[in-house]
Symmetry: C2
Subunit: 183 residues, 2 copies
DNA sequence: TGTACATCAGTGAACGCGCGTTCACTGATGTAC
DNA sequence: TGTACATCAGTGAACGCGCGTTCACTGATGTAC
């Protein structure tokens, strides 16, 4: 039953990608190792040939989910002016599609609460993701260099807060929140 | 072992108050009925004399946690000008003490993710809380009536986002986020 | 007001279930010669 | 290049555990007369 090194690596990738989707849909606690493995077409026993424990998988899943999002933002920066990139990112972020499609949405609002209660490793990964997003977004903010950084942080905070509130509210309240934050 | 109607009501209150603390510290899934009952000095079996199920308790706990916070905000409005009330609320919200003391902190960032994955009843309760907070805060915002409402929503979104991000990040990143949002 | 009975708050054992993790096993891959 | 052996990816049963919920039971409270 042993497989190639190459195949093993692909399997690891499949596990992480499935976990990155499932954890965004269900949260950390409700994402079981067995479900992740079965999403990758495997049985649960083999999990520990790929990861030390569930926590290590969650770190990899958060990194993968965030990398996806950051790549999409980088494409916006390549395609237009920095200001356009930020405006487009914000519009998509506050759009109903992003709020609804949790499996492929930004992990910051989806997992913020969960990671806040988790261990230092996961928090370090989350914090590093936030810093990367700040570094990207500040390129498209107006003002002096120091102002831009603080403005990027406040912008991200508003986006994350708006989506968090909209998802946790009844649909009508949710739509009202998103509309108000679109300006 | 039957107790007075009056005592039963006090017991219910004690259960809800304990649940309101525990759920903010641990999240919905990690808050067990047995732990809540034992925090109230009871055993788990009696829980169903007070609540239909765990979900009903969570609704009551979210309402209680939010009522606490709204009462504190109302006191600020009674004590000074509306603008001062909002400024004081925001300063306390972004202060390290509020970020750390989860058991008595604002439930919106703490439970946003959890409620986003929960049922309609819990979402309706959460949405009603958000609307109450908007109604309170907009009294202290500048600008025309319509502008004030949208501004209150954006302000709340930024506060909730900032605290969510700060809690889920490593301490250094967390402090940086809070500092940037304090302006 | 007193009495007899019904109600029910609270207890603690028990239920079925899903969880993370471990383990003996398999057979194909990797490696040493 | 070919062969013999070691490694290990993946399987599926099993582990101990905690979960939400149910239930028979208790004895004090509530109620009907």
């Amino acid at each position: 039953m042993r497989t190639t090194r190459e195949e093993k690596q692909k399997t690891s990738q499949r596990i992480v990608e499935g976990a990155a989707r499932l954890v965004r849909e269900r949260g950390i606690e409700a994402t079981s190792v067995a479900d992740v493995m079965s999403a990758a077409g495997l049985t649960h026993g083999g999990f520990y040939r790929h990861f030390e424990d569930k926590d290590a998988l969650m770190v990899a899943a958060l990194e993968a989910a965030f990398a996806e999002r950051l790549a999409a933002l980088d494409e916006r920066f390549d395609a237009g002016t920095p200001a356009e990139a930020v405006a487009g990112y914000q519009a998509e972020y506050l759009h109903d599609g992003h709020v609804t499609a949790r499996a492929i949405a930004c992990p910051l609002p989806l997992l913020g609460g969960d990671v806040g209660r988790a261990g230092d490793t996961l928090k370090a990964t989350y914090g590093a993701s936030v810093r990367q997003l700040i570094d990207s977004l500040e390129r498209g903010m107006p003002g002096s260099p120091e102002e831009r950084r603080a403005q990027a942080v406040r912008r991200i905070a508003m986006l994350v807060g708006a989506v968090t509130l909209a998802r946790a509210s009844d649909p009508e309240t949710g739509r009202m929140i998103l509309a108000a934050c679109r300006e």
